[in-house]
Amino acid sequence: MSRRLFIKKVAAAIAAAAFPAHPFAFPGSAVADTRTHRVEISGFRFTPDRLDVSVGDTITWINRDIAPHTATASEGGWDTGELVKDAQASITVTADMETSYFCAFHPMMKAQLSITAADQ
């Protein structure tokens, strides 16, 4: 192992100890480099409706409306499934995932992701 790689690994270990995994993070995710983003669904809106994320991050949608909603990719590539009131679902960001999404039940509800590569 090179000295540089060794230092990087030690730094990652320290960061992991100092900032424990978020409860929403998936097991095995690179804790030091990824984040969990929350999108609230309320009043028939996704908030925020534009979200900057990185590959490996987790996005958690939480529905606060009485009406059930979904977060569904515009071309159907990913989908949270039905979220009843106060339910939540998470999806891990991948490089090739669709960035436009909507509520499959209320198609006028739309939102957008902006994905950057993990190393950037």
Partner: protein, 177 residues
């Protein structure tokens, strides 16, 4: 004869005094009567949606109808849970009876239609129905509801019904092309 008539009029007057005047305006309804109107209005739209699922062959109409069933059922579940919490029973009234009677006629009318004619009538009725209900909820119900939790539920419901109105506008445009 005259004495009998006077006696009958006096007894009627006493009966009217003994019974509180029935509300004849939406603004006069109490919280439990308003809750019942909303419950009935939700069920009417669910009934229209089931009719659409049975008659229409348009996938967009089916999708819209399923959303109406899903959302109005969710609102009714919240309303029933709140009434249970408040240990209250909804009260039938002139407006809930009027809504039900009107819906019977409309279901009969729409049941005779098929194809594009049904889709157009269903979408137009959904738009008109949600506009009317939203007007009622905004202007007659919410300003007069006394219980804070009931008011909060109606405010949340209004957001849903306004979204439905917007969705119905899109449906009307789509089936009118």
């Amino acid at each position: 004869m005259k004495q009998k008539l006077l006696l009958a009029v006096s007894m009627l007057a006493l009966a009217l005094q003994a019974t509180p005047a029935a509300a004849q305006s939406p603004a006069d309804l109490n919280d439990l009567q308003i809750a019942h109107v909303a419950y009935v209005a939700d069920n009417i739209d669910i009934r229209y949606a089931h009719l659409a699922l049975a008659i229409s062959e348009n996938p967009a109409i089916h999708e819209f109808a399923r959303t109406m069933i899903r959302d109005h059922t969710a609102v009714n579940e919240q309303a029933l849970a709140l009434l249970k919490k408040l240990n209250a029973q909804p009260q039938d009234n002139f407006l809930s009876k009027q809504l039900t009677a009107n819906s019977e006629k409309l279901v009969d009318e729409m049941s005779q239609l098929r194809g594009a004619a049904f889709d157009k009538r269903y979408a137009e009725n959904e738009l008109a129905y949600h506009k009317a209900v939203n007007d009622l909820v905004s202007n007659a119900f919410i300003p007069n509801i006394e219980n804070a939790e009931v008011k909060s539920l109606f405010e949340a419901g209004l957001k849903i019904f306004k979204a439905h109105e917007h969705h119905a506008e899109m449906m009307v445009k789509a089936v009118s092309k």
